[in-house]
Symmetry: C2
Subunit: 273 residues, 2 copies
């Protein structure tokens, strides 16, 4: 069986940790893939831990004991957040995005994995301390950012549907009031998709009145779940009073001037402190 | 400004490449973040390239010239594919997944980022040579696997909707025949979400008759796009004749025995050669 040198193992560990942040890898697993003693692995991980700190990538935590292991917890610095948010504002504010009726075409951005991975890294970095064990979103446009945030936090995603599907098994349905249009709508979540007493992070692409996020929070009560945070990519400045109290938005949409072709959008300064 | 040692830069490069496979990073970018000369970066990349090959992670390709850079192209070995596919079969064949009417509850699996990342890594590895520049899927359950495959191939995703939405701008709609139920259904895709003459990889979660994939292929003609591949996570053994000819499935669902609680599912052996 192949043996590896220390610099090879350290390089491999950087890759493995980067591909699966917040996942606890056992020393046994590393022992097996590198064909090396656990004491050797333990020294490798110590080197990687130092490396990750020196490079400001976050931290590597080790769990001791028989079931010992290590986990990479990424933390994003203010400078990188600032760069990402400003790039997003440039992208979102392109005047060609304005649609008739003052709507904005965002779909390509929310379906671009490279862009959404960066959005997800910010959300994950902000909520890692709240230790959510599930992300909840509603179809359709919120799914990519939720899946990628789930990837970064290493937690599953529960997708609330607008309609009941036969392949979802038993579901819980609630009615909610859309905050902006005052329409009554329905949302359904499969019983199986969320464990009772979960710690839930609610994620969505866009918040205007906050009715959808409020609906999701109401749904969580039916699952005895605790909402530990709510994150949206964009919120509109108006209405200033949303139907949910506590949430984090990455970007603030101040105004759309359809006539002059101006989309005024800015980063949430709270993230840059 | 901070200076880094070689082993730090090599570790950082492993992380950066792993987080964004198939993305071409310029030497200028590395020069800037490491505060090092381009010649130094070039040597670092050569070390990483060797490391990646020794570890069987794929390859690092370098682009020379003024706009020089490097890209990590992951390739998955047969052993890892085999492990992932067998783990998937275990997961999918749990008898508690059987729903009334012979349906199977799969939603939790298709919304689990850790599991779907592995699925996406296999699909990306199989289709990287076809050089798709976009992934096309249809809402809802195919979105996570498409987004994560797009992440691994570094290409955007276009999501076909079941209904027209005002925030999609101008759309193209087609009717298609569901292969299993013979119902006529509609799908719509925003004009802006797919460039003309794209090389498209079609991705979906499940194929029975193949009507949905056929519909997506038909839709591609309206965008003058070339379908360079079709990938589904699960296909059913029956009907043996699908409405599309060429596709790759990861798993084959042989049979569901509702009475005895048996889901008979196996890896696609073509992938394990």
């Amino acid at each position: 069986m192949k043996k590896y040198k220390r610099n090879q193992r350290v390089g491999a560990l950087m890759k493995i940790f980067a591909e699966r942040p917040n996942y606890v890898f056992s020393y046994n697993y590393f022992s097996e893939i590198f064909n090396a003693a656990k004491s050797t692995i333990s020294e490798d991980v110590a080197i990687v831990r130092e490396l990750v700190e020196e490079l400001d990538y976050g931290k590597v935590e080790t769990i001791s004991g028989a079931s010992g292991g290590a986990v990479f917890v990424p933390v994003m610095g203010v400078r990188e957040k600032n760069d990402i948010l400003n790039e997003l504002c440039n992208l979102f504010s392109n005047k060609n995005r304005i649609l008739p009726g003052g709507f904005i075409y965002f779909t390509d951005i929310f379906n671009n994995p490279g862009i959404v991975t960066n959005i997800a890294r910010i959300i994950a970095s902000e909520f890692t301390d709240k230790k959510p064990d599930c992300i909840v979103t509603v179809e359709t446009k919120g799914i990519p950012v939720s899946i990628l945030t789930g990837q970064k936090l290493n937690v599953p995603v529960a997708v609330i549907r607008r309609n009941n599907k036969v392949t979802e098994g038993a579901t819980v349905s609630i009615n909610y009031v859309s905050g902006s249009s005052n329409n009554i709508q329905t949302m359904s979540l499969s019983r199986r998709s969320l464990k009772e007493n979960s710690r839930v992070l609610i994620v969505d692409d866009f918040m205007k009145g906050g009715g959808t996020c409020k609906g999701m929070a109401d749904m969580m009560r039916e699952f005895n779940a605790e909402v530990v945070g709510t994150a949206v990519v964009i919120e509109t400045r108006e209405p200033g009073k949303k139907l949910v109290d506590e949430y984090l938005s990455l970007l603030l949409l101040n105004n759309i001037n359809e006539k002059d072709g101006i989309i005024d959008i800015q980063p949430n300064n709270k993230l840059l402190k």
